[in-house]
């Protein structure tokens, strides 16, 4: 049972990734990429890593993909027309991702209703992850926080408008 769910989820992940990287429209690609990340989250859950699955949905499919959406929307501001917006919403563009997402949702419901016998081997609980994270791996937490601070400073530096800099160059 768990094997079948795993193989369906991995097929969804592979096909969604292939479709995402072959689209010509960035917004359509983003839908398939989110779908691929959700499928990988289901794989994590089936592998007995519920904490990693939750973080995959929250941070990867949530926060990081929202950054992509924001940037794509910012770049499209000038040329966006009503016709293009309408073309983005044709059924052809959302039926396949919607079908795949429904498949993943049904899988998740099945997995949740059979948790004890469906999760492979022994599930690694969030408590064990937390204990290891703030025990032997506490240096990794510090390094990750410094990395995120560096990313924040770098993104702020790159993202602000270069008005001052350009007038200095002239």
């Amino acid at each position: 049972m768990m094997e079948v769910l795993f193989y369906i989820a991995s097929l969804v992940a592979l096909s969604a990734t292939a479709l995402a990287l072959t689209r010509s429209n960035a917004t359509h690609a983003l839908i398939y990429l989110i779908l691929s990340l959700l499928a990988v989250a289901v794989v994590f859950f089936l592998l007995g890593a519920p904490f990693a699955a939750a973080l995959e949905v929250l941070i990867y499919a949530g926060a990081i993909m929202v950054l992509f959406v924001f940037v794509i929307m910012m770049l499209n501001l000038g040329e966006a027309g009503d016709a293009r917006e309408r073309q983005w919403l044709t059924p052809r563009n959302w039926l396949v991702p919607g079908f795949m997402a429904t498949l993943l949702f049904i899988e998740l419901m099945l997995a949740l209703s059979h948790t004890p016998d469906i999760v492979s081997g022994v599930a690694v609980e969030p408590k064990a992850v937390g204990l290891a994270l703030f025990g032997p791996y506490v240096l990794a937490v510090e390094i990750a926080s410094m990395l995120l601070l560096a990313g924040l400073v770098g993104a702020y530096h790159l993202g602000r408008r270069f008005i001052v800099r350009e007038s200095e160059d002239d």
Partner: protein, 104 residues
């Protein structure tokens, strides 16, 4: 020893296939948004391999490396999308081949 009902090799094959999709996308696409998406796919595939190994031996270490990869991906995408905005502002295109000269 937890042991998976799915062979560990199959999960690793899935991770390798996802990684090669990301690598192919990175090499074939020239739109910088798609290149960043391919990088995300590759990081995600590496994280999948770590989580699978951690699940196979029922140890939390795999998920901790997943957390580190997650923060690397978040920092990378923030800086990368900042670069996308700068490139769009300077070159009026997202094609990477127009930005192949430094100090352009």
């Amino acid at each position: 020893m937890g042991g998976l009902t799915v062979p560990l090799e199959h999960v690793l094959v899935l991770a390798a296939l996802l990684f090669s999709f990301g690598l192919l996308g990175l090499m074939l696409r020239r739109n910088i948004i798609f290149m960043l998406m391919s990088l995300e796919v590759m990081l995600n595939a590496a994280a999948l391999a770590f989580v699978a190994a951690g699940a196979n031996w029922a140890q939390p270490d795999g998920q901790i490396v997943f957390l580190i990869i997650l923060s690397v991906a978040a920092a990378e995408v923030a800086v990368g999308l900042g670069l996308v905005l700068q490139i769009q502002r300077r070159f009026k295109t997202l094609d990477m081949d127009t930005a192949n000269r430094l100090r352009g």
